[in-house]
């Protein structure tokens, strides 16, 4: 008992959240694990992830190579750890691009309404008709498989999602009394949008970020697997799975399976985090699911 009373407030708060939402706690735990891997990669990888040891090709897991080596004689364990850097390095900027493009658009179309809103929403609908993976494939194939292109494509494909959730909240807020009161106080439009509406319209978009990050990780891996994204020997999970696929039939399963597990865990963790965040930030959703 005395331990509970003595523990600081934030410890009790975390305890409370994890009891209310085990999903969120598990997601946070997994993602923190990957984040630590990504941050500490240069110090914790036993080998240079891009060091080819030509005398040690396709070594089975065990011994010095915990997860074996791949067809170039690169240490799979080191590459899986280094791959976390690429996953975050694509997901975080891609979500930021999506937010930067989508949030202002949703804010403006929602507030302004009329024909501009109508055209923007129909354009988003048109985008949604195409499977996003095909669209991403086409754009990256045309623009070249650089990291920047992959990030920009994923970000822009994501922006309608953010635009829509922000727009929905702006539509509700536009006619709220406090916005009316802001108008009657004499606020110019930009202040109404950014000071009064935006801070109250971001919750939905924030709750979406983790789920969209999961999607970004998945899409970038898919692009790499199909050979149009990040290219080997860069330690990107998708690219590694592509390499491993070649050896699966010949029995060297470890080349592709370990990065595959890492990818699954990361996407799962982000989705759990996202689900938990949506429950936490959107009380209406919570009421609907319970």
């Amino acid at each position: 008992m005395s331990a509970t009373i003595a523990s600081p407030r934030w410890v009790r708060r975390i305890g409370g959240i994890s009891r209310r939402s085990p999903t969120l706690a598990a997601g946070v735990f997994i993602i923190l694990g990957f984040a630590a891997m990504a941050l500490l990669a240069p110090w914790i990888t036993p080998f240079d992830p891009e060091l080819a040891q030509s005398r040690n090709v396709l070594a089975a897991p065990g011994g010095a190579h915990l997860m074996g080596t791949d067809g170039n004689g690169m240490d799979v364990f080191s590459r899986v750890i280094a791959g976390a850097r690429w996953a975050f390095g694509i997901a975080i900027p891609a979500v930021l691009v999506g937010l930067l493009a989508g949030v202002p658009l949703g804010l403006y179309t929602g507030y302004r309404g009329g024909w501009f809103d109508e055209i923007a929403m129909r354009f988003f609908d048109a985008l949604r008709v195409f499977p996003s993976i095909i669209l991403a494939l086409a754009v990256v194939a045309a623009a070249g498989p650089s990291l920047l292109n992959v990030v920009l494509v994923i970000g822009f494909l994501d922006s309608p999602v953010f635009a829509r959730v922000v727009r929905a909240e702006v539509l509700a807020l536009r006619h709220s009394t406090f916005v009316e009161s802001a108008v009657s106080a004499g606020n110019p439009t930009w202040r109404i949008l950014f000071v009064h509406i935006l801070p109250n319209a971001l919750q939905g978009a924030m709750a979406q970020t983790a789920v969209r990050a999961a999607w970004a990780v998945r899409i970038s891996a898919t692009l790499a697997f199909l050979g149009v994204g990040i290219q080997p020997p860069t330690p990107e999970w998708g690219a590694m799975i592509r390499q491993g696929a070649e050896y699966l039939v010949t029995g060297q399963w470890w080349v592709g399976v370990f990065p595959g597990i890492a990818l699954i865990l990361m996407v799962l963790g982000l989705n759990m985090l996202g689900d938990g965040l949506q429950d936490l930030l959107d009380p209406r959703r919570k009421a609907a699911t319970r």
């Binding site: 709220s176 009394t177 406090f178 009316e180 009161s181 802001a182 108008v183 009657s184 106080a185 004499g186 606020n187 110019p188 202040r191 000071v195 009064h196 801070p199 109250n200």
Partner: protein
């Protein structure tokens, strides 16, 4: 006699539901408010009270008529041109819980009009905000709090402080006490009465509660379905309402004397839809003294018994047949 701060002539506001269907919220309303005067606007919900309040400070664009603010026609002014005028005309809303941005501290909310309309330095602004808080009887400690931490009465005081921050010439109060507890109401009304005497601002007090209107208003405008049915000094409306609707409304008002014999008239019939307004007098369908010509002729707003200050729109006044019977003896 001081010139009117606000002059409204033939104000019309229609809301388009679809291309064919229009809601006739306000149908040709005229009135004026002088400096230091408070006009009470009463009527049932849907009578157009709030629409008029929002139109005169140009939160809504009127469909027709003219609105003159301090002699200047502001009827069709674009929003950008209205903005500098907003320092001089302010509004207090009905529901203080939703009238304040939940993510801004109380002090910054009160400072906002000053920030927008004055060139005060940050330090001067802080002093002024503190003075305003004290003026509306809020403890300055509350200034660092967020709206969710305050009670309804405190929030309404914040709204009032915001409204008087730039010393406006016109304040529209849209049912400022109706969502508050009875015990809190009296305090807000006292504050408004003090401010009325102190600031000399013209006020428009919108309410469906006759008791509060009676306390604070100099004149009263009675609305029915977006039209004025009676426009008279407060005492006259309460003592000697001419229009049958005003009489029914007044009979529903409980006097402070518990021993008074209540002669209540409960209106029968349906309120016509503001989408399809009937011809003639809009009140005719519920009026106990209506005659057939009430349903065809539109009654003009005429002086009652030659008194220009007391106007009513009823055809039966000149016939002396405008008194409604007190049907129900409701005691206690």
């Amino acid at each position: 006699m001081t010139a009117p701060v606000l002059e409204v002539e033939g104000l019309v506001k229609h809301f388009d539901v679809s291309r064919q269907v229009k809601v006739h919220a306000v149908n040709g309303v005229s009135f004026s408010i002088r400096e230091g005067e408070t006009l009470g606007v009463v009527g049932e919900s849907g009578s157009g009270k709030s629409t008029i309040g929002r139109s005169v400070i140009r939160l809504l664009a009127p469909t027709g008529g003219t609105i003159r603010f301090r002699g200047r026609d502001i009827t069709n002014l674009p929003e950008s041109a209205c903005r500098p005028l907003r320092a001089e005309m302010q509004m207090v809303f009905q529901d203080p819980w939703s009238a304040l941005n939940p993510r801004i501290r109380i002090g910054d909310l009160i400072a906002e009009p000053l920030k927008l309309h004055t060139k005060l330095s940050a330090a001067e602004r802080r002093d002024r905000v503190e003075a305003l808080a004290i003026r509306v009887r809020l403890t300055p400690e509350l200034l660092t709090r967020y709206p969710a931490e305050l009670s309804g009465g405190q929030l309404q005081r914040v709204c009032i402080a915001r409204a008087i921050a730039t010393s406006p010439k016109l304040i529209v109060l849209d049912e400022p006490t109706s969502s508050l507890d009875l015990s809190v109401r009296a305090g807000i009304l006292d504050l408004l009465a003090e401010l009325k005497a102190e600031t000399g601002a013209a006020m428009m007090f919108i309410s469906h509660d006759l008791g509060t209107v009676k306390l604070i208003s100099d004149r009263i405008l009675v609305l029915y379905l977006g039209s004025v049915v009676e426009y008279a000094p407060t005492a006259q409306v309460f003592a000697d309402a001419a229009h049958p609707y005003s009489q029914a409304l007044m009979s529903a008002h409980l006097p402070a004397d518990p021993d008074a014999v209540l002669k209540r008239h409960v209106l029968q019939g349906e309120i016509p839809s503001p989408i399809n307004l009937p011809p003639g007098c809009h009140f005719a369908s519920r009026c106990p003294v209506a005659v057939p010509r009430c349903r065809t002729e539109t009654p003009p707003l005429d002086p009652v018994a030659g008194d220009a200050a007391h106007q009513a729109a009823c055809l039966r006044i000149t016939e002396g047949a405008n008194r409604i019977p007190a049907l129900e003896d409701a005691h206690g």
